[in-house]
């Protein structure tokens, strides 16, 4: 039920938890004339009370963690999260720093353990910074208008030439005899 509610009108609350502002400007760029998201019924709202969707940018730093938790819980229930930028999706370049929680996954882990909060549907928009069109595409995926193109791919190598001394010594002959495709065939 929750996502169907946002098909026509979606109010966004933008939370920058330690981002370098590259993504925040792209999030704001989305409201400017070239990409104007108001035609899709999206409005930037100033208080989490009014918001339906929270846009996370930045790899939640330790300082903003308590504030991010408060803002997250202050949004009325049928809510959704859009993680914009590589920092929010997986911690980006700051992943190992001591002062950073490391993206939305770690934030959800903290929320699950300590606050027992239900995790809302989330869209991850990688990019550093993602183009405004990528953010619009993310919201279209959240709403279900478009299916996501990016899928997990797992390639395992099947047949492999048996390594022997003479194969190694006259590798050139081996290379010509078989076209490149067969040598490195795979699933």
């Amino acid at each position: 039920m929750s996502i169907k509610l946002f098909m026509k009108s979606l109010w966004v609350f933008h939370l920058n938890s330690g981002s370098c502002n590259g993504c925040d400007i792209e999030v704001l760029n989305v409201f400017t004339p070239y990409h104007d998201v108001e035609r899709l019924g999206i409005k930037l709202v100033a208080s989490p009370r009014h918001a339906d969707v929270i846009v996370f940018t930045g790899p939640i730093t330790r300082e903003t963690l308590p504030k991010a938790i408060k803002a997250f819980t202050a949004i009325p229930e049928p809510k959704a999260v859009v993680a914009v930028g590589s920092c929010a999706c997986g911690g980006g370049i700051w992943y190992d720093s001591y002062a950073v929680i490391g993206g939305i996954e770690a934030f959800y882990k903290i929320l699950r353990e300590e606050y027992k909060v239900k995790i809302p549907p989330t869209v991850y928009v990688p990019g550093c910074p993602p183009k405004p069109e990528a953010i619009i595409y993310g919201i279209a995926v959240l709403r279900g208008i478009l299916r996501q193109k990016q899928r997990r791919t797992y390639f395992t190598e099947k047949e492999v030439p048996e390594l022997t001394k003479d194969l190694i010594i006259n590798i050139e002959k081996y290379m010509e005899s078989k076209s490149r495709k067969e040598i490195y065939n795979g699933e």
């Binding site: 004339p33 104007d36 108001e38 035609r39 409005k43 709202v45 100033a46 009370r49 009014h50």
Partner: protein, 297 residues
Amino acid sequence: MLYLVTVFANIVALLAIAPIIDGIERKVKAKLQCRKGPPILQTWYDLIKLFKRPSIVTEEYSIVYIISPYIIFANMLFALALVPSFTRISLSFFGDIIVLTYLITSSSILLAIGSISSGNVFAAIGASRELSLTTLSKLLMALTLAIFAVLKRSLMLETLFPIIPPYTLSAIASIILFAIIAYIESYKLPFDIPEAEPEIIDGILVEYSGKSLGILKYSMYLKRILFFTIIVYLILPREIPMLLTPVLYLISLIALSVTYVCIETYCGRLRIDQALKFTKTLVPILLVVLIIAYFNY
């Protein structure tokens, strides 16, 4: 019986049109900013979504914070019943101008008290701004209505309405002044200080969410419609055939809102004291017009 049905039909039609007028305003504003802008029904979609959402309430709420949106909405409905809109028939009775001013003033004050009682600092700041601004603008509104009453020597909205036929200076001046005050009342840009988004985060509406926010927003649109209808009917001559009034009314309504939006898109926001200074300069002008109207010059 038919009388009540038409008034009821009037109100229902107005309830339907108010968000659409706001949708048109947002569309025109976007077009003026080189943007495509939202569909006309966008405000309706927002309201429907808001009504479906639960509203979070802080622990220390007071009863005023809960019921004020509903009372404000009721006030607006009753005010709209007083005013003739699509048809000339309305619940007008003797002395309904005074009732009208009370309705509008009470709804603003209630809004301010409601947001103060929510205990949030931003709401308090927004409310104090709202109170300082509304006291002045309500005074101006009361004065202009007094001018109309003096001009027409009656306290009944019905007789008031086509104020133009005697083309006196004061009549025209009062209409222009009423248009300015309607602009201030409708929270259009230079004066949308209580709701100043970037400064104090939607000041007044900051603590409301979900259903109550929807109702508050709805009543704001109704208030705009109310002022527009009063302006339109001040000018509309009485002799127009019965069938033509609704169409003419609708067109002039849209025209009026479009002009207001054109003014709004190109104005920055005034500081609270600058806004007060501007409204203060209006008071002497109104008094002068009142005196002239008295001698119906």
